[in-house]
Symmetry: C2
Subunit: 246 residues, 2 copies
């Protein structure tokens, strides 16, 4: 009844055991060795087979459940979800998203200046009203087609945000490179009509539907490090995600 799971862990590796197991099970699903609906053996048996304790095995399975690849039912067992779900669990930037989809992103920096924060920006970044913040405006292309207008505000002094660097890599990669660990974000996705300026930049018509996203991102100290307000051309971009009931 149960599908065999053939996984071996390397105890000398610095990679956590639960993560090794999770990666290998995910690879088996990708390769079709574990088909949708397949039932895995129970946690105790799996743990024994791999020479792990049950909590470690559970951690591996829980990781894949959170990722939307497996479902568990008490008294029944663990099964592979039918159909593929978006595996992305990361706090990803548009730049990395496009790279992953082989979309060859390029960026034009429209402006990168230091300005006093307006009230709403100050609140979002938890800065005193009127504090100086960095304001970025970029135009992001995918395969040489204009895709999105990205407006961002950051506290000053976080990183050296020169236009050259911003055109070579994404903002998130740049922040990570200077030791900022992005951890949590709160975002809102909506839609509205393009303004004249947006339409011009994105080669759309004024009033054309645009997808919008505003996001505040916090680092591993819980401080707000970035506020973004982006508009996307809906024919070229949409947001995909997995939801998991806890």
């Amino acid at each position: 009844m149960s599908s065999p799971v053939n996984v071996a862990v390397d105890r000398r590796s610095p990679v956590p055991l639960y993560f090794q197991v999770a990666q290998q099970i995910e690879a088996m699903i990708d390769r079709g060795e574990l088909l949708p609906g397949a039932r895995l053996e129970n946690e105790v048996v799996l743990a024994d087979q791999m020479g792990l304790s049950r909590p470690t095995m559970r951690q591996a399975i829980q990781y894949l459940v959170d990722k939307g690849l497996l479902v568990r039912k008490r008294g029944v067992g663990t099964q592979v979800v039918h159909g593929q779900v978006k595996r992305n669990v990361e706090l990803s930037s548009l730049h990395d998203d496009l790279l992953r989809a082989n979309q060859y992103p390029t960026t034009k920096v429209i402006s990168a200046t230091v300005v006093p924060a307006t009230d709403d920006i100050a609140v979002a970044l938890h800065q005193p009203p009127g504090a100086e913040v960095v304001r970025l405006e970029r135009l992001r292309y995918a395969n040489d087609q204009p895709l999105a207008i990205l407006q961002n505000w950051l506290p000053t002094g976080l990183a050296d945000l020169t236009p050259e660097r911003l055109e070579r890599q994404g903002l998130y990669a740049l922040l990570r490179a200077v030791g900022v660990t992005l951890r949590v974000a709160s975002q809102r996705i909506g839609a509205r009509a393009a303004t004249g300026r947006e339409a011009t930049l994105l080669t759309e018509r004024r009033g054309a539907p645009l997808l919008t996203m505003v996001r505040t991102t916090y680092d591993d100290s819980g401080r707000a490090v970035e506020y973004g307000s982006h508009v996307y051309r809906p024919a070229l971009y949409s947001f995909e995600m997995a939801l998991v009931e806890r």
Copy 2:
């Protein structure tokens, strides 16, 4: 340096200990007893104070980290995130979302019929091509204003989806009531212009921007139980969510 956490657990309660702890810490954050940026005591001390083991305490903290309320940094400690994030971790239906926001949702069922599945619906629901499926079309109002057109397809025989029931409660609540446990969903959010029919139903202009969402939902056996294609008026609705880096 550390903020005190005053929590007591009831060991006779059927509610898991880690969940009792998590709920009480969340309540303290809501009441402002734990301010943004406040550092909690370390896991071992917290566990001792509450008479719990460290793994149980960790599980409580991890729950709140996943919810976007806390951040942890190795070697440093656990802190409350600055700014408020969307707490919602559930696989929520629009109906419940509106209820929670005191928006008084009402529903008009436009059609509820059994039809042969088109190819894309059959694929999404993992049914054989042409299999009979239930097709629903509903118009959802909030405070008597038209808010969204909801199209859904489901395998037949799941539940008795009469218009009367669908107008009294949300589809998800109806499914849960007949024992379907929704577990995982994969969704895509985009935007496009309103068609003439959509514009009429939603009292918008033809070509007005609409927010779109398509979603496939799976139950705790990993089977697809619902495919939905919805359009929303962006002035009245947007999607809000927390993202957590793992």
